[in-house]
Symmetry: C2
Subunit: 120 residues, 2 copies
DNA sequence: CTGTATCCATTGGGATACTG
DNA sequence: CAGTATCCCAATGGATACAG
C-alpha cells in the first residue's frame, strides 16, 4: 500500500508538503515556549511551578496550553501524585528526549551566535 | 564593563532569561515559516516565486514578512537585479548557513519520527 | 515577477483573579 | 500547588486583489 504523506504511515514525509501532518508537528515544536519547555525538562521531571519559574515570563495559561499540546504529541508525560497540596510532575517521554537534542542545538546556536545577530 | 545579558555584548546569554535579546532571536527562528524558508535556501539562492512554490501554502504577505525579518536578523540577503520583469534573489548569509544546520536537524527529526507521534 | 494593500478570522499570549 | 476562568489586545496568518 503506497501511502501518501497526507495519510501518514510509512512513506517519506515532507515538511514542505502543505498537507503533510509533519507540518503541524513542526509548528508545535518550532515554537519558543515549546523549545524552552522541552529544554527545561532535559535534566529530569519538573513540577508546574518550577517550570513556570524557569521559563521566565510565561503565564500559567500559556504554560498549561504548551504542556498540554506537548502531552498530546507524546513528548511530555504528566503525572499527578495524589496529595495535598497537589503535586504534578512533567517529564520528557523517550520521544521528547529524542527531539530535545535538535532543540538544544538550536537554543545553543542562538546563545552562541547572538553577538553576530543584528537587532531583531 | 561587565555587560549583562539584557544589554548584550560578550557575556553569557541565556534563552531562559526573560529580558535576554536571544529570546527574540529564538522566537524568530523557532517558527515554522522561518525554519522552512531557511531550509529552502540551503542549496543556493532562490527567487521569491520559487520560494513561494517550495513552501507550499504560504501567502505572499507572510512570505515577505518572514523574509524581511530574516533579512533584518542577518540570516538572509536580498539582491535585486534591475530588469523587467523584476528579478529578486534571496540567499543565505554565512550566519544563515550556520543556523541552517540545527534547523535542518529539527526538520529531519520531525520527518523521521512522524510515525511515532500522536495526532497533534 | 515581486511584491503591497486590504480585509478578516484566529489565536497566541499577557495580566489577574480565583478555586479545588 | 496547580491550574482554570476571564478579559483583552496585538499580532500572525490566510485570501484575494491589485500595483510597479
Amino acid at each position: 500500500m503506497t501511502t501518501t504523506c497526507a495519510t501518514g504511515q510509512h512513506d517519506k514525509h515532507d515538511v514542505y508538503a502543505a498537507q503533510c501532518p509533519c507540518r503541524d508537528v513542526l509548528d508545535l515544536l518550532a515554537n519558543k515556549w515549546s523549545a524552552l519547555a522541552i529544554g527545561a525538562l532535559e535534566d529530569g521531571p519538573r513540577r508546574f511551578g518550577a517550570l513556570q519559574r524557569h521559563l521566565e515570563g510565561v503565564s500559567p495559561k500559556v504554560l498549561t496550553a504548551t504542556l498540554r499540546r506537548l502531552e498530546d504529541g507524546g513528548f511530555v508525560s504528566r503525572t499527578v501524585y495524589p496529595a495535598v497540596p497537589p503535586h504534578v510532575e512533567y517529564e520528557l517521554t523517550p520521544l521528547g528526549r529524542g527531539v530535545a537534542r535538535p532543540l538544544a542545538a538550536l537554543r545553543g546556536w542562538v546563545e552562541d551566535h547572538l553577538h553576530e545577530i543584528g537587532p531583531v
